[in-house]
């Protein structure tokens, strides 16, 4: 089971989650809307004190772009 999911992730590795951390305001909308729940607040803060999102397992990203579309601050996008 674990092996198969890894294979799928590998096949979808073309989705790269890019976070422009300095633009983030830590609203958390991206984390909530993500259907596969792979985003979480980082432990680090940007220069304005906001904890921007990081992907716990980028390989699981399905490329739906809901995070990108729902971000009010142009701080996250999918490559």
């Amino acid at each position: 089971m674990e092996k198969r999911s890894l294979q799928i992730s590998m096949a979808r590795a073309r989705h790269k989650i890019v976070v422009i951390s300095e633009r983030c305001k830590e609203c958390g909308i991206c984390i909530t809307v993500c259907p596969v729940k792979i985003l979480d607040k980082s432990s680090l803060r940007n220069s304005r004190g906001f904890r921007y999102p990081v992907a716990s397992d980028e390989n699981r990203c399905i490329g739906c772009r809901l995070c990108e579309y729902s971000c009010p601050d142009l701080a996250i996008y999918i490559l």
Partner: protein, 280 residues
């Protein structure tokens, strides 16, 4: 960390003005990016030229969209966007002139201008970002604030019935009337895409969540909760009827395109009239 990152929409944004002044979790930014995606789509399809887009914004949080987009953009006084945009459209008819403002800006102080732009079927795209409150000035009642709600200027509850913008616009002769929601960015982008191709007046009311101000009044200040509260009230319909446009915070809101026709716009009528006069 010194990697130069570029958002795909950065080419349409005055990035030097970022970050925006909007509060964390304010969804006006989603409205802006949905609009930019729709514009980008039209530009890529060769249906729109980026040097022929003009934004006009007034005063208020959502009017700041005009401040952040990298097109010709004109800021003006509170409520006075529509006449200014009208003049630009008359003199630059090839331009897509987009008016962005909030419910207070366009429906309250600028209400008379809205009325007459609708009557004229003026060739503008008017985007009303409706957060149901005066955000920038600190939470006063707006024409779209739900009945009975506490605001700083209705401390005993709002005694006024809110304005149904969709009903107003449909009754006065606009070519395209739609309601969208910032919580549904894909649908919003589709609506904007359609509206950008219209002649005559295209009016889009966009419901948006305001966690800091409206949220404080309804007791939900968490950005995510605020977003989800609004999202739960939205029903998506393909071609909703006017009766379904009912504007009621308790009952929720139907989003979709309420009116889509192709009557001649003001510019069509004007140029027809002037052509016979001038011979060109």
């Amino acid at each position: 960390m010194a990697v130069a990152v570029e958002h795909p929409l950065d080419k349409y944004v005055r990035t030097e003005k970022l970050p925006t002044l909007w509060c964390p979790g304010c969804t006006i930014g989603i409205v802006m990016t949905s609009l930019l995606r729709a514009i980008d789509q039209r530009i890529r399809e060769g249906l729109l030229r980026r040097d022929q887009i003009t934004f006009v914004g007034g005063i208020g949080c959502s009017a700041r969209i005009a401040m952040y987009v990298r097109f010709d953009s004109v800021r003006t006084a509170h409520g006075r966007t529509i006449p200014l945009a009208t003049a630009i459209k008359i003199l630059r008819p090839e331009h897509k002139v987009i008016v962005v403002g909030g419910d207070g800006d366009i429906c309250a102080i600028g209400g008379n201008h809205l009325l007459h732009a609708l009557r004229r079927n003026m060739d503008l795209m008017i985007i009303i970002v409706n957060n149901m409150i005066y955000g920038m000035t600190g939470g006063q009642v707006s024409p779209t604030t739900p009945l009975k709600l506490y605001t700083t200027t209705t401390p005993y509850g709002n005694p006024e019935k809110p304005l149904n913008i969709i009903r107003l616009a449909c009754s006065l002769g606009a070519n395209f009337v739609a309601r969208g929601s910032a919580t549904h960015p894909h649908i919003l982008q589709q609506i904007f895409y359609k509206a950008l191709g219209k002649r005559g007046l295209a009016l889009i009311e966009v419901l948006s969540s305001c966690p800091e101000i409206f949220g404080r009044h309804i007791g939900i200040t968490d950005p995510v909760k605020s977003f989800m509260t609004l999202r739960d009230k939205i029903k998506v319909k393909n071609n909703p009827s006017l009766d379904e446009s009912e504007y009621d915070w308790e009952k929720g809101f139907v989003i979709g395109v309420y009116l889509d026709k192709d009557d001649p716009g003001y510019i069509d009528n004007l140029s027809l009239l002037y052509k016979s006069l001038r011979g060109f």
